[in-house]
Symmetry: C2
Subunit: 208 residues, 2 copies
């Protein structure tokens, strides 16, 4: 026998991760179709051929990445849902956190860009489209529920909670898309401006 099974498994995962990272970087910059296998191989520092030991095709890598990206956004929404706080506070805190992440995390921006890219093309692999169909709405539903709960409490403004959830995520997504292609970081963002869309103003705040 040669190398141990477990060690091989670990090596395989590490190498796959390297390929995924390179592919994500390329897909985000160029898109799925303009990215060549060659581009990914060069960025990962390997030969083209080797790529096919780990993934069956370029599309397969893309699907893997989309799946990851969708899971990350779902996880993020669950962590908001599971916070120990009132609904209004959850919304406020989530926005504070998301705006901070947009300003500081390239990974988050890449994730948003990849999902937007995939959502906006019918030419991406069917498997990716299915994943989007299946997972895309979960974060919207999570926020919708929090909005509805906040309305009962009186901390969230009136209106269709579905609509409020749409405004919540499309604002964040629009901002992320903008930021990922504007290196100019001279403007500091204040999450409270976005939060004011959803939160009922208290007396104290009105006087600030």
């Amino acid at each position: 026998m040669a190398r141990s099974k477990e060690q091989n498994e670990r090596m395989r995962e590490t190498r796959k991760e390297k390929i995924r990272t390179a592919a994500l970087s390329q897909f985000v910059k160029q898109g799925l179709f303009a990215t060549r296998i060659q581009d990914i191989a060069v960025e990962a520092g390997i030969a083209q051929g080797l790529l096919y030991h780990y993934y069956g095709s370029k599309e397969e890598i893309f699907v893997d990445l989309i799946n990851d990206a969708l899971d990350k956004t779902i996880e993020a929404s669950y962590s908001v849902r599971d916070m120990e706080a009132d609904p209004g506070e959850k919304i406020r805190f989530a926005l504070e956190r998301l705006v901070e992440i947009i300003e500081n995390s390239q990974t988050f921006l890449d994730t948003c860009r990849l999902i937007t890219q995939a959502t906006n093309s019918t030419a991406i692999p069917q498997a990716a489209q299915d994943l989007i169909q299946e997972k895309r709405n979960i974060p919207y539903q999570v926020i919708e529920k929090i909005m509805a709960a906040g309305q009962k409490e009186g901390t969230i403004i009136a209106g269709d909670p579905k609509m409020l959830a749409i405004f919540f995520w499309t604002s964040i997504n629009g901002l992320a898309i903008y930021y990922s292609t504007n290196n100019n970081r001279e403007v500091k963002l204040d999450y409270r401006v976005i939060a004011s869309m959803f939160l009922v103003k208290t007396e104290r705040e009105s006087e600030e």
Copy 2:
């Protein structure tokens, strides 16, 4: 001599327009790279070869469309700037109009999508990138000025007007991107939710 010059000119423009319309529809659905010349030709109802009588390449059509799209967004922002109204009213009215357009105009959604697509890929033609560099910020600057004027008047909330302009356009853009890939139109959008990000609340409104 054969056909008259003017008549030819007109025919050429009509045909070019047909090609542009087909190309826009395909680019928006599939993106520049996944769209084949064949796809455009089929949708325009002509042979592949004919396309090259009107455009030198696929990329040239793309650049033409991007230019159009950018000009449209600039025109839209100018029409807001030139309104006969106070700054706060301009913002309110612009948002009302934009939300309505998002809900009803496929052309507007396509325009947003095309620009987002172009802005998010480094693989698009250099000429398109230059146009974006040159024109993209104009609508942001227009809104920034209106925000600043509104702050002087006391109808727009405090904060860096550059930031407010960013929130203004990224909200609209995020919404447009979302809507262009969600046929589900069961939710009616209320522009006043977005407007409340920017407008100082009057007594009357607070009591509504």
